[in-house]
Subunit: 489 residues, 2 copies
């Protein structure tokens, strides 16, 4: 029997006294690998302690790898080998990972060590986050449908599943696409882990070293490092009030072999600009002429508040040149990582293969829950609710901008939907960083414009997202911004 | 008012009659973009039909993009532009995607168009699937914890979240790693979307064209196309009963600059072989000598049924050379896509950056649900339950193999855990495909060995997974396999 003593008056809990003594017996070799420990019943009787106390000590030994359980519920001393922690680890003996990395990757990582963080100090009016207002997220309703889906199909959703995605959700997306004028079949739809994943699947298919990609300037900041990770050279085309500058675009298409154009025709991120239907027709025509594919990011397709509907470029595409990207991140929950892409069947089939190689299987649980949520009409109701809320917020923002921003010192966009708008200072001498700091000192956080450009630019500019703000906060925030801009040179 | 008539005696449902007539009025230009439709109340009174009938017709028009709703609940004719579907699409006008793809990728995709499909016809004894038995999956318990997590933290889990992973789950994994002798801190742990995702993050960091990777022969089939996608040259080292052949490994390490070794020391996929502690020590020593990193895939670390415990290679690593991969796919649910990696902090930090660039955010909902499930002790209970079940199944398999498989015509492995074992035919003249077909004709499905090799090999071999089979099925399946092997030359 083990030589263990316990002192019930000690400040060390009894279970820990037992744990420490057995640990020491193992470490000093008194107990050897394979030795059987007394049963918890026996030891508790011997030590006159509660059986759960012994049990807790054994649990502790077990969780630190000293013992193991075998059939019959006995515990044995376990082989622990030379654990790394037990030998002192010298810094200089450690592998230097950066030296082994792909140098292109290390330089990319070094260049983007500051990520778009949308948190601010409390009390600041926060124009940063581009995601639905948490207070408007239908989390409680979603919980019910998540529960329903798991109850209905538990094991089926939790096993390895078809990487294409959950068919009922694909069918729902097909209908939703039809609503936006994109007629398609299930074979044209691939469900992905969000827009970034959609883009990456496509890049894996087409990227070769030095591929040229045309982006809008400014463009969605998160695509810049992703495209660069795939070895891309990014060509910027300025965005005008009507959409991407078609003259400059044509010039670039004429003089370069371009892999594809990445565009956000609706409520462009960051500017909030929406191109007209006529502009879209010309854009498609131009890309057809130069045989250049278009990635159309419809991230806020659903979020139109004012004015005439405009149809996606994809709705006019009869050559398969356009790949449309959709997402649930800006209407439902960004944390779900759920998006989709629409393209010709041959392309989608290749992307499915790539997804299979890199991801094996698809998370059906989330997809089935979103389907259950959507198919009962909740999605339309929820989108309509968002419209009511954000129509007011955007209206407030536009009126406040009109009222408070000095027109001789800046211009601003007038979005007909989405979450963001854009302020550009008129005078080149104003420093963007300095101005952002001044805003913050006065209680307002905005995203500096430079994050959305590949090359450096002259004028200071800022993205403002109204997503998480009340109408009062929006008004107050723009008032403060107006005062600071007024004081600039 | 619209000129619409309905015939209640027609075989066409009334709602569809209304839908078709309004659609026709829009298409013929009688109704123009922006025209307001009568309210459903008004139209239903006029037509003397139920209001929900009109509502359904409007829904139909809406879902096909003919009308839109605006504030005040009126419906308007919508801009549909030239929809692609309305012009006949000629095959020859379609973009040829394969021509635009990276040629390395298209040839890779062409070479792996048959994916490991684990479904069979009903009635077949199915030795294919390498995933937990659906009948043993704790789906109902998991549902409760999923619901609990969503109830507790709904909106927080559903928003954009830290790409590193959910801290409480990382803490649980840290403890679990300690149980297996791997002492680590939270900063060494990154939660991923499963092992394939872990591998890909690492490849993105280190891969350069033509990097050399050593794999076991046979190895996990799904890593072959993944490694090749990143431009790797795969060097195969045969696996012996004790683990990877250390002599051949040393020869390769001496003569090549190797980016890393990929190994599965426990219940290796496909063979089920577990290397000894002494073998692991030598392996680590060898890789230290040649300064070659090791990716240790611990996919079935938890699934030890017989014999002495063996500690992971990572538990002995004091130089940071080993990257350990874990997963919940073989104990809980493969459909969750949830795994983790353990490595030095500098490496993990770089991989977090790469994950941020490619995935933006992490699915906290799944991670929180798994955490809630695990932290109450369910995980240990569940693993113990799996042990009881699979200890019996593996025992049955080993006894049946001993009894039915002719030893002069084949050899087979004797796994001490996991789901799979391996049969190798002794005579080189037997055709693998032919034999697999014969098995299937006699009611047994097994995975052909060639899927697990990079280069062609001489002998026919087969992977058998007992994961989804009862003891009776395992016995009966091996009896049938024995009869067929007996008849071979």
């Amino acid at each position: 029997m083990l030589l263990i003593k316990v002192n019930k008056n000690s400040p060390t809990p009894v279970f820990q006294q037992i744990y420490l003594q057995i640990k020491s017996l193992i470490e000093t070799g008194v107990l050897k690998v394979g030795d059987k420990l007394p049963s918890s019943r026996l030891l508790s009787e011997k030590l006159k302690v509660n059986r759960t106390t012994v049990y807790r000590a054994y649990e502790e030994l077990w969780s630190f790898g000293y013992i193991e359980s075998r059939p019959g519920s006995y515990s044995f001393v376990r082989q622990r080998a030379q654990l790394a922690i037990e030998t002192k680890i010298a810094e200089e003996d450690q592998i230097n990972w950066a030296q082994r990395a792909n140098p292109n990757i290390t330089s990319l990582l070094a260049s983007c060590d500051h990520f778009n963080n949308s948190n601010t100090k409390p009390g600041i009016i926060n124009f940063l986050p581009l995601s639905p207002d948490p207070s408007q997220m239908p989390a409680e309703t979603f919980r019910k449908y998540l529960n329903k889906a798991t109850l209905l199909h538990g094991v089926d959703l939790l096993s390895y599943n078809n990487v294409k995605g959950y068919d009922p959700l694909r069918a729902f997306i097909k209908e939703r696409m039809a609503f936006h004028g994109i007629r398609t079949t299930l074979d044209n739809i691939l469900i992905t882990n969000g827009t970034q994943n959609s883009l990456e699947l496509f890049l894996k298919y087409v990227a070769v070293a030095g591929l040229k990609i045309i982006v809008e300037a400014p463009t969605y900041s998160a695509v810049i490092p992703l495209f660069e990770m795939y070895g891309a050279i990014l060509l910027e085309v300025p965005i005008t009030k009507k959409g991407i500058d078609l003259k400059i675009l044509e010039h670039l298409l004429k003089n370069n072999e371009v892999a594809f154009l990445f565009t956000m025709p609706n409520f462009q991120n960051p500017t909030g600009i929406t191109s007209t239907q006529a502009h879209r027709e010309k854009l498609l025509e131009l890309c057809k002429t130069y045989n250049t594919p278009i990635i159309e990011d419809g991230f806020e397709e659903e979020m139109k508040y004012f004015g005439k509907s405009v149809m996606p470029v994809k709705s006019m595409d009869n050559s398969g040149l356009v790949i449309y990207l959709g997402t649930f991140s800006k209407t439902l929950f960004p944390g779900l990582r759920l998006g989709w892409m629409v393209g010709n069947t041959d392309l989608i089939n290749s992307l499915i293969q790539i997804k299979q190689i890199t991801e094996i299987s698809s998370n059906f649980l989330i997809q089935a829950a979103v389907y259950e949520f959507c198919q009962t009409g909740n999605y339309e109701l929820h989108v309509k609710r968002l419209h009511r809320i954000y129509r007011k917020r955007m209206n407030t923002a536009l009126k406040a901008a009109e009222k408070y921003l000095p027109k001789d010192k800046c211009f601003f966009t007038k979005p007909s939907g989405g979450y963001t708008f854009w302020i550009n200072l008129a005078n080149n001498r104003n420093n963007e960083n300095e101005t952002v700091k001044q805003f913050e000192k006065n209680g307002v956080a905005v995203t500096p414009g430079k994050l959305f450009y590949v090359k450096q630019k002259k004028e200071a500019s800022f993205r403002l997202s109204i997503a998480h703000l009340s109408e009062n906060q929006i008004e107050e925030g723009l008032r403060k911004i107006g005062i600071i801009i007024e004081k600039l040179n």
